[in-house]
């Protein structure tokens, strides 16, 4: 920072109380601190891209715990699985926020004041400035100044006219844009903070044919910000009429997902038909509904030893790979002893000795339901929350294995009952998101870009012209001051013009 114009007092003064607080504030709001904090924020985000994050991939975090339990515990203590909501990340974020405000707001005020002031007085010794030119001419003094001022006005300079000289200044917009850039950064940060405080994010799995009512109790998972109130949830309902997925026959990659649904915006309103796609969410005011994932729900019927139905319906299974090999569990608590099935749904069935059953294509071309039946206590009354996709087999005993095609029935051993694989239906994962801050973030981001463009390419120039008499001739002095390129050209053409030399090509274009 060799030719930096700002001096930093890095030694704390021997003061107590207010003096020390003022020193801390000056340090925090210096531009250098803001820059260091910005760099720190970038460095602090690196571990978030190296370690799995709970907010993005909780399963991977669990895997990490499985393979490296001791290390994982230490990483967790340092919040390395929750980097972006960790105390140290928030600390940098908040300090940066304060530092930016403390840095930019006073500068904006200064800029506002100087924007209304006249350009600076003409310095005494113009020859010490950049791009100094001097020539003598026989033209009239006042006429020369008049021509100078009209020429500079044409080039959009602001002028201060003195008896023997003219001071001109241009390019205020550069600093204005620079400040706009930094103020917009603050607006963006406000948008991010407001969005996470006043927002919510929920997931719900809906099978084809089912209707989802948007109330807090229907969600499978829900996370809310500190300022979010349950009343902010709009009371719409969505009926999943049909879900269509298209896949590429060569690569098995998905080509298109399409959800046909019927929406009722508020109770009592007329239902309307909509199509939801991956890049086309539904919008209800500040809340949007996204089509995020899909899978299959096998439909089964379980009967007891007497032949009475104890369970019937579609049960959502969790996809494990791109070919939708899906795992799930079928829990039948209303039997004595209780019955549970650890199950795998394979849309296009294949089996090898080493992998067991798996699917080779995501569409249901040859659907098979693999079942392992367990009998005993499902442990649902223990009070410990259980995954709906898994069964805790601690207090269960395996009684048999089977692989069923649609329509097939399996009579369970020992006359316990039977299970029928009736068919399957697709399910979709709808994500309900409310982000009240995103409009502010967007405006902030667009203004950041505008500010950046103008401040990088805008040019600030100052030019002074002074005339004096010597031996009957008029001496003209021209000089300038700048922090951006282009001033030399500007001054050369001005000097040429005042001397009455032929215009340069560039200028003559302007004239015509």
């Amino acid at each position: 920072m060799s030719n930096s114009q700002i001096s930093y007092d890095t030694q704390p003064p021997q003061l107590s109380g207010i003096g020390f607080a003022r020193w801390i504030w000056r340090q925090l709001t210096s531009m250098r601190t803001a820059l260091v904090l910005l760099l720190l924020l970038a460095i602090a985000s690196i571990p978030g891209s190296i370690f799995p994050q709970r907010s993005q991939n909780p399963l991977q975090v669990n895997e990490y715990y499985g393979t490296n339990p001791e290390l994982a515990r230490w990483l967790d203590r340092a919040s390395l699985f929750n980097v972006f909501s960790s105390p140290w990340f928030s600390a940098i974020y908040i300090l940066l926020f304060i530092s930016l405000i403390g840095c930019v707001v006073p500068r904006t005020w200064e800029h506002f004041k100087s924007a209304r002031a006249l350009p600076p007085m003409t310095p005494k010794n113009l020859e010490r400035l950049e791009e100094f030119h001097q020539f003598s001419t026989n033209q009239n003094e006042s006429e020369l100044l008049a021509r100078t001022s009209s020429e500079l006005k044409r080039r959009r300079y602001r002028l201060r006219t003195l008896p023997d000289s003219i001071g001109a200044e241009k390019g205020f917009i550069r600093e204005t844009a620079n400040l706009l850039f930094h103020l917009s950064l603050i607006l963006l940060l406000i948008g991010v903070a407001y969005g996470s405080l006043g927002g919510m994010r929920a997931d719900v799995i809906v099978s084809e044919g089912e209707t989802f009512t948007n109330v807090a109790t229907s969600y499978d998972s829900l996370s809310t910000g500190g300022l979010f109130s349950i009343d902010d949830i709009p009371p719409f309902t969505i009926t999943v009429k049909k879900f269509t997925a298209k896949y590429d026959l060569v690569t098995n990659a998905p080509i298109d997902y399409r959800l046909d649904a019927q929406v009722v915006d508020e109770p009592g309103k007329v239902p309307r038909d909509v199509v939801v796609k991956v890049n086309k969410p539904l919008t209800f005011g500040e809340t949007r509904v996204y089509l995020q994932a899909n899978g299959y729900s096998p439909i089964v019927t379980v009967r007891n030893s007497a032949g009475a139905i104890v369970l019937r319906g579609p049960i959502p299974f969790l996809p494990q790979d791109g070919n939708l090999t899906s795992i799930g569990s079928i829990k039948v608590p209303d039997m004595q002893p209780q019955l549970g099935f650890v199950a795998k749904f394979l849309p296009t069935f294949e089996r090898t000795a080493e992998r067991g059953g798996f699917s080779t294509y995501p569409e249901a071309l040859k659907p098979v339901l693999d079942l392992a039946a367990w009998s005993g206590d499902l442990g649902l009354d223990s009070g410990i929350p259980q995954s709906v996709y898994r069964i805790n087999t601690e207090k269960l005993e395996q009684i048999g294995l089977a692989a069923l095609s649609p329509g097939q029935k399996w009579e369970l051993p020992n006359g316990v009952g039977s299970i029928t694989f009736d068919g399957f239906t697709p399910w979709v994962n709808l994500q309900v998101v409310r982000d009240p801050g995103k409009a502010y973030s967007l405006v902030g981001a667009v203004l950041i870009l505008c500010g950046l463009l103008v401040s990088l390419f805008g040019r600030r120039h100052r030019i002074w012209v002074r005339v004096s008499q010597k031996d009957g001739d008029t001496i003209v002095q021209v000089a300038g001051l700048t922090r951006s390129p282009g001033l030399d050209e500007e001054i050369k053409t001005l000097v040429g013009l005042l001397r009455g030399e032929p215009l340069t090509v560039r200028d003559s274009n302007v004239e015509e």
């Binding site: 920072m1 820059l35 993005q56 080509i255 890049n279 086309k280 981001a445 870009l449 950046l452 990088l456």
Partner: protein, 296 residues
């Protein structure tokens, strides 16, 4: 012409462009070796310039064939050719070479030709051997007009960032040489621009393209809001784009506000550029986020 014909044609064009690029590289290298042996004598100058012109013409030919290869790839898939890492790479090489050719219209940068052709060969070679995937339609999340806007902005800024980095690296190497020889350069390096010119050039390129990079991130955020339900989620690719943005922002700040020049600025430029490369290579291939479209 059917779509698979177009896909084969595209592959042939890419291979052809690599052959021409290799030729251009050899001619650039020949010229360099020649000038190291003979030194900068007046008598050979005109002949050497003729050789450079040949190399430059080959580079233009290579660029045109690669351009055709990228376009036919897009036509064969019925979309913008930016769906996986193979396609990012061939388009990246195209952008990189385009930036060089445009710069050579205005500045004396032909000396960079050997670096540009070498880097292009490396990129294309990796693309056809390690990254190749057959031409295929897009996954649903990529079906959006934002694909063209976001990815083209990111690729162009990447190409220019890398060009600025080559120049910064050249600055550091020449600076070291001049220091060792007390201000003099080895003879073959005489024709390279002055150190100050290199310094200015890499700064101008970064300043020119930094707003475009900012735009690429903003466009990506708008798209992510529609496709993934949030505009910013600290996905690894997003995180590293942010780090690159901060890196170059610090570079511009250091130059404009604190007056950094020369060695320190060049190192900062290289650090910021390496975060971009890391994002492109590491996060695309080994990353776990939502941006894993390498197709590998």
């Amino acid at each position: 012409m059917s779509k698979s014909d177009l896909a084969y044609l595209s592959n042939d064009l890419i291979y052809a462009s690599m052959a021409i690029c290799a030729l251009a590289f050899l001619v650039f290298a020949y010229e360099l070796a020649w000038s190291i042996r003979l030194g900068e004598e007046r008598t050979t100058l005109a002949r050497r310039q003729k050789v450079i012109r040949i190399a430059q013409a080959l580079t233009i030919l290579y660029f045109l064939i690669l351009f055709a290869g990228v376009v036919t790839r897009g036509l064969s898939a019925g979309r913008a050719p930016w769906g996986n890492m193979y396609e990012f790479s061939i388009t990246g090489a195209l952008a990189f070479t385009f930036a060089y050719l445009v710069a050579s219209l205005k500045y004396e940068v032909q000396w960079l030709g050997i670096l540009i052709t070498f880097a292009s060969l490396l990129t294309l070679g990796t693309a056809v051997t390690l990254l190749y995937v057959p031409s295929a339609p897009l996954v649903p999340a990529l079906k959006s007009p934002w694909l063209v806007i976001h990815v083209s902005a990111a690729i162009i800024s990447g190409g220019v960032f890398l060009l600025a980095n080559c120049i910064a690296a050249a600055y550091l190497i020449l600076e070291q040489m001049e220091k060792k020889r007390a201000g003099a350069r080895p003879e073959w390096a005489m024709r390279l621009p002055k150190l100050e010119t290199l310094d200015q050039l890499s700064y101008r390129l970064v300043a020119l393209v930094f707003p475009l990079w900012t735009f690429a991130i903003i466009a990506g955020a708008i798209w992510a809001e529609a496709a993934w339900g949030r505009y910013w989620g600290w996905d690894p690719k997003e995180t590293w784009s942010f780090i690159t943005w901060v890196g170059y922002a610090a570079y511009l700040h250091a130059r404009v506000t604190a007056g950094w020049r020369g060695k320190r600025a060049a190192w900062l430029c290289l650090i910021a550029g390496s975060t971009f490369l890391f994002n492109y290579i590491y996060v695309n291939i080994w990353g776990t986020g939502k941006h894993t479209y390498s197709g590998l």
